[in-house]
Symmetry: C2
Subunit: 141 residues, 2 copies
DNA sequence: AAATAAACGCAATAACGTTGCAATGATTTT
DNA sequence: AAAATCATTGCAACGTTATTGCGTTTATTT
């Protein structure tokens, strides 16, 4: 299972035209294995003891993966970025996220596509939308 | 005009059961005079030279005002809080915000009420929604 | 005017993320 | 297989936003 993700991750990285380093592969594998959007810290914790990366390296790898559209970043009111792998659905379609106000977990609401346009004042140009539903997750409610 | 806001601010503060300090009054006045949501820094800049408050005091005053529902905080992808006075419309109705991706200005889309509920996975409980439309403002587009 | 508790200012601290630069290592070329 | 190349890494320092502790000040009540 995880080995498969690992290979998949490596291929995705190569196809994006970047160097397939152990770090990048591992990070992307972790994100592919995860269903929720997780923080930099959480990714760090999921890295095996045998492969601890520097904080900075992790940040840079994530930035690179996001730039290649292999993952996306989710903003949040706690000022912490969360990262999530781009499944087929995600990559070219905007979607909403849910954040638990108690345990802070963030999930993708993949089945919640957002209309592309939105009524704005005159002269304003629409680019994208960021939507976070807040509440209690199943465990916390 | 501004003196009126000043009185209004003072009254709102007293009605909320807090001490009407010069700082709080001034801060709320500034937010009442502003149509966009502005940052801590921007509020600081709008304070008169004769009344420069400590950063911490400003943060605490804003927190207090938000707790009393006289203002609301807007989260953003630049990790900076923006603050906006609660007009009648705002206080009891959720609304969306717009952020310019070029000049970073944030405005309230007051006329864009959001449905109270939202379809969530089983077991999840809805509390509130945070919606930011991003794009270019009239000046930047 | 005195008493009281809330609010303030200052300094230190926390958290998240970024930048510069020399060392390393993945990939290509020979 | 070895050498060359340059993207990537690790480390240390830095930047920004926001928070906490604590002694002092001040708005409000008595
Ligand atoms: Mn997502
Ligand atoms: Mn608003
Ligand atoms: Zn939860
Ligand atoms: Zn703009």
């Amino acid at each position: 299972m995880f080995i498969k993700l690992h290979r998949n991750a490596e291929e995705l990285i190569r196809l994006s035209g970047g160097r397939a380093t152990v770090g990048r592969i591992r990070i992307l594998s972790i994100l592919l294995a995860e269903q929720q959007a997780i923080t930099h810290r959480e990714i760090e914790q999921r890295l095996p003891q045998t492969l601890q990366l520097d904080r900075v390296t992790l940040y840079r790898a994530l930035e690179w993966l996001a730039g290649k559209n292999l993952i996306h970043k989710v903003t949040s009111d706690d000022r912490v970025w969360r990262y999530h792998a781009n499944r087929e659905l995600h990559s070219h379609q905007q979607h909403a996220h849910f954040k638990c106000t108690r345990c802070a977990q963030v999930i993708c609401l993949s089945d919640l596509p957002i209309e592309r346009s939105w009524p704005l004042p005159i002269g304003y140009r629409f680019q994208e939308i960021e939507l976070t539903v807040k509440g209690l997750c199943a465990d916390c409610s």
